[in-house]
């Protein structure tokens, strides 16, 4: 078990170092700088009364930028290893293909979480500058968002096993940014379709990743919303783990049969 953990640590460390080498985190810092600049521009208007608006804008921008990092990082890792033929020396070591996938997934999650931490720190700085108060729900927002981003990484990695990097990234963006639209389409059309179609909608609802569940931004940005019950956070944790495990199984099923 310890041996496995060492393998995962080495693989994920390589992903993080690669990300630093590619200056991805510099881009994140630049995006964070844009957040601060945007906040300064709003400051010209006078901050009084704009706290809720700025908070909402902050969580929206934070969610969007960190999701972009998660999708781009997770969808390109494996194809690049194959393209640059660096996969062969990796697999010549005593690690299985499943270990490789898990290690890469952990690496992409770590990179995404670092990016999120940088962006969150800069957003928090901007929000504090506007006098926005930090509530318990904000902490829950961060925890849920971290789980949601990890789920995005799992989806991105799985897509990259089945598709080209460009197709995987595009599909990843559609699934993540279009998640709420897809869910709304399912719920609003359910009562207007026949029984067979309802079965199809139920299947889609179960199969598609529910990224909207991990976004507490609506509650965190507005005033007076109570923290989310513990069972809900527990459900999110279980959903993330089981859904990611399912995706890893799918990835492994494909990647294991792949001729390299």
């Amino acid at each position: 078990m310890i041996q496995k953990l060492r393998v995962y640590r080495s693989l994920s460390r390589a992903v993080v170092l690669e990300s630093i080498r590619r200056k991805d985190l510099w881009v994140v810092a630049l995006l964070g700088f844009l957040i601060l600049m945007g906040a300064s521009a709003l400051g010209i208007m006078g901050v009084e009364g704009l706290q809720v608006f700025v908070k909402d804008l902050g969580v929206t921008v934070l969610g969007a930028f960190s999701t972009i990092v998660a999708v781009l990082t997770s969808t390109r890792m494996l194809p690049e290893e194959i393209k640059h033929r660096t996969l062969y020396p990796l697999l010549s070591r005593p690690i299985s293909r499943l270990d490789l996938l898990i290690g890469k997934l952990i690496g992409s999650i770590v990179v995404t979480w670092i990016a999120f931490a940088i962006l969150a720190a800069l957003t928090a700085l901007a929000l504090l500058g506007f006098g926005a108060t930090v509530e318990m729900i904000m902490l829950q927002y961060v925890v849920a968002k971290l789980m949601g981003l990890a789920l995005v990484c799992a989806v991105g990695l799985t897509l990259s096993v089945y598709m080209t990097p460009a197709a995987a990234a595009t599909t990843g963006f559609i699934l993540t940014f279009g998640s709420s639209i897809i869910v709304r389409a399912l719920t609003s059309s359910y009562n207007d379709v026949d029984q067979a179609a309802q079965f199809g909608l139920r299947f889609l609802n179960a199969a598609l990743p529910q990224f909207t569940l991990f976004d507490l931004g609506g509650r965190a940005a507005n005033v007076g919303w109570a923290p989310v019950p513990v069972w809900v956070m527990g459900f999110l944790l279980a959903y993330w783990i089981f859904y990611s495990a399912g995706l890893m199984a799918l990835s492994w099923a494909k990647f294991n049969r792949r001729a390299l």
Partner: protein, 281 residues
């Protein structure tokens, strides 16, 4: 084709209403213009979310109104996230309702509209040609009905009028406030006349909201003449208004008092006709 396009002078004002083109030399098709319009439009729609403390609403569909025995011709709000009884998703639906800003429509509390003031200030700063931002913002500014709130609302409208001198809504709103709150019929008359002039000069291309403001301007101007005792101008205004809006049922009724004012009623400034006061008591 180029010749046809060259002669088709009416297409451009319809696509880009003159109210914006007159004010900005670069026009709405510029990237900055598009950004301004999009940003202010987004802020405009965001005020509703802001008022509802983050709860997002949508209009009910025809089928939903029918299922709840609600009149089809009226609009009703419905939370974007369906309620438990209408949601097939089971626990996933429960979790979404728990993590989102959600309460059943009937029970949610609305925030004070005055909290949206910074948004109106921001949207009119981003897009000074967004007339609804100025008029709705002025109503929110003046919600208190205190002299201070009224003067702030008028100041807000004055800024809007400087940016949009040829629009109908802002002078109409200006006149309405000075007549109803400051009881200043003379100033109100000037603004309603200006609104009507603006509306007539761009009548062919007036959007729905400005057409409605033009109709209101005729009505208000007729009321101003009625309360000012100027029956000649009242008749002329009603006549002209009915030529523009032949289907209007209110304009013909503006000539008579619909409510008998109490004895301690303070008449507005200006020349008040004595006929009514003498006949009523």
């Amino acid at each position: 084709m180029a010749g046809i396009g060259w002669n088709a002078t009416e297409v451009s004002p319809v696509v880009n209403p003159r109210i914006r083109r007159v004010q900005t030399s670069e026009g709405d098709s510029s990237v900055l213009g598009q950004f301004q319009t999009s940003a202010s439009g987004w802020l405009w729609s965001y005020t509703e979310v802001y008022l509802n403390n983050g709860i997002k609403l949508r209009r009910m569909t025809g089928a939903e109104k029918k299922a709840q025995n609600l009149p089809a011709e009226r609009n009703f709000g419905q939370t974007i996230i369906p309620g438990k009884s209408d949601d097939f998703r089971g626990i996933i639906g429960d979790v979404e309702r728990a993590v989102s800003a959600y309460t059943p429509t009937q029970n949610h509390r609305q925030n004070d509209p005055r909290q949206c003031l910074p948004l109106f200030r921001l949207m009119t700063w981003l897009d000074p040609y967004f007339v609804e931002g100025w008029t709705t913002g002025a109503m929110v500014v003046g919600m208190d009905y205190t002299p201070g709130a009224t003067s702030r609302a008028l100041e807000f409208l004055r800024e809007g009028l400087q940016e949009n001198p040829d629009c109908v809504d802002i002078p109409m709103m200006f006149g309405m406030i000075v007549v109803t709150r400051n009881k200043d019929l003379k100033q109100g008359e000037r603004f309603f006349i200006r609104a009507i002039q603006n509306g007539k000069s761009r009548f062919e291309i007036l959007p729905e909201n400005e057409m409605s403001a033009l109709r209101s301007s005729y009505r208000w101007l007729a009321l101003v003449y009625r309360n000012g005792g100027n029956s000649g101008k009242l008749a002329a205004t009603v006549k002209e208004g009915l030529q523009v809006f032949p289907d209007d049922l209110v304009l013909p009724m503006t000539g008579r008092f619909s409510v008998v004012p109490p004895k301690n009623y303070k008449w507005p400034k200006g020349e008040v006709r004595t006929r009514f006061t003498s006949s009523s008591g």
